[in-house]
Symmetry: C2
């Protein structure tokens, strides 16, 4: 394909993409930049079932490489996605990406406590980093990641997909524009029944239990609905089934206060039927979603009966396209490393409160 | 009406009543006891719009008297419900009920902090007491009420109407029989937007704010779903609108742990749109109601899609009929004074936790 034909084909693809903004279309047209190449680092279930398929739906990203230590996975992904040998790496060889211009972004989908090392390697190779949440397992490790990407002059984003879902964006609008008056109480919960033996139950790899994994959705929600950081937090955990929950909590609940007076009541569990929902109660009405945090099929409700449902794009495609757009336009991502760090900071306070049995005052 | 005709008419009414148990029918038939006479103490909105109309639907109660200091109310109730002059009392004269055999039960519907005095007067007059919730504003005052009724050998019940609603009873069954496995997390909330100037906003009369008034529904729910008393509780309050909430809290949220490992996340508000709902999440499924605590129209949902809706009797009629049945059969009420005291004890701990900023260990 000649340069011109290639450009036209890409422009047509961009124009056809249903959820892409006109500003991005213009930016792509203006730069005639190639699609950004994403290398997926860690080929677990999320990469296989969500991220790789979503990459096929993006407007300005493409699956360009993989990083895995499992030869069988490397082989099957190579053939399935037509990935050249030179773009297949192990964790030990990923520093060689520095010489691979096909790869622009490393999307880190490894266990939580490996994110920093993966990100350092990517930054050293001059790549941008998009990182699954939670960003890392401590405030210090998040800060190191931020510092490394900043020093490398590369962009860092955290995969908060709900921030790219129209229903969640509409809920943010309802909250911020005080459509039902000031928010007063937010209830939010996310949990499921985890099978034994997975890395998420190992403290060394996961850093924590359901709070780090799914509670983070509820926490994020309270932060983006209020547009504020909590100033007071109190949490408690259970460890019901000792066989499964010897290293991380079984369930966690926490309460928070925000500067404007909103209070939140949140929970997460690894030992309960799948459930993810929230309700935001304001002075003159309420809105909520149930389910709220699924990959698809989320449903919103407003107290006035007006609809709160939208055709939802693939949230993974939407977040990757947005990150690529930020890189192309050299503008900060709304799901920055700093944003990822803020959640980790609050989660550490929740664990500290649960451990000490005392509420924690937070200073932002 | 002769004695026999009277008995037959009553028996027919009993047989026709749709929600009365056969054991009560038998008991009434066996004793040929007259309907128990209820005197309503305090003629506010709840008495006018719910309790008096409900009394007309009961099988074994009748509106026999009123206690009010407002002559206009006395006059309109007398004519509306055909109440004889001798059964109309003020708070100062209610001790004279001792000489009035038409009155068996005093249903106390006054502001919270007056319940004890009203109950002491009723007990002194030899009457049974059915008391609106919260039972009183302190543990000590609840205990005094229990002691007084015990000394008078009269029965004491607290008006926990949800304990007589088929949907709540079915939720108790789902929890106790572990239909979805063990309960893990309960979320419950009840609130509304209170108008200024009402007695519920005065500390001296109400004893507290939304916790005492509507939060008690959420607290009761966690106690009757688990069948346990909380062993750990942590609460916090807000006082957002200083004009309305100078004396009682605007909103309250609290978390509790129960001996079996259940954790609860509850809230209540006086400054938010009307909302009352709960979700109980177990190992393999969940159930909930939304709305959960209305006088009618509550709706249940089960995670397996099976129905959780019932034809609901008038809950006020159901609770009064049950209390009358307990009196007739001389058996303890499940909504006893001791039950009312337990909620007040936990609510006082929630306020203490909010005041001191520390979780409270409870010993039952």
């Amino acid at each position: 394909m000649t340069g011109r034909r290639k450009f036209i084909a890409q422009a047509a693809a961009v124009a056809a993409a249903p959820f892409i903004s006109t500003s991005l279309t213009r930016a792509l047209a203006a730069t005639s930049k190639k699609k950004l190449g994403f290398a997926i680092c860690g080929l677990g279930g999320l990469s296989e079932h969500q991220i790789a398929p979503a990459l096929q739906k993006t407007a300005n990203c493409r699956l360009a490489g993989i990083i895995t230590d499992t030869p069988e996975k490397a082989s099957s992904w190579k053939s399935k996605y037509n990935i050249p040998d030179k773009s297949v790496y192990t964790y030990d060889t990923m520093h060689r990406m520095a010489d691979n211009p096909d790869i622009d972004v490393v999307y880190i989908v490894t266990p939580n406590a490996l994110h920093l090392d993966n990100a350092l390697a990517a930054a050293k190779a001059g790549k941008h980093v998009f990182c699954e949440k939670p960003m890392e397992i401590s405030v210090e490790r998040c800060q190191k990641m931020i510092d490394a990407l900043k020093a490398a002059r590369r962009m860092l984003g955290v995969a908060y997909r709900c921030q790219f879902e129209p229903s969640h964006l509409e809920c943010m609008r309802l909250a911020h524009e005080k459509v039902f008056g000031s928010l007063k109480v937010i209830d939010a919960y996310f949990g499921f029944n985890i099978p034994p033996g997975v890395w998420r139950l190992k403290r060394e790899l996961a850093g924590g239990g359901p709070l780090m994994d799914v509670g983070i959705y509820a926490l994020q929600l309270t932060r983006y609905l209020t547009g504020e950081e909590p100033v007071w937090i109190s949490g408690t955990t259970t460890h019901g089934d000792p066989a499964r929950f010897s290293e991380v909590e079984e369930s966690v609940i926490w309460q928070a206060k925000f500067p404007s007076g909103v209070i939140s009541n949140c929970g997460a569990s690894y030992n309960a039927a799948p459930n993810g929902y929230f309700r935001a109660i304001a002075e003159h009405g309420w809105f909520g979603m149930d389910p709220a945090f699924n990959y698809s099929g989320n449903r919103g409700t407003r107290s006035d009966g007006k609809p709160l449902e939208f055709p939802e794009p693939d949230p993974f495609a939407a977040e990757m396209d947005d990150f690529a757009q930020c890189i192309l336009e050299n503008k900060p991502s709304k799901v920055s490393g700093e944003e990822g760090l803020r959640d980790v900071k609050v989660m550490m306070a929740i664990y500290e409160s649960a451990r000490t049995g005392k509420p924690i005052e937070l200073h932002t």
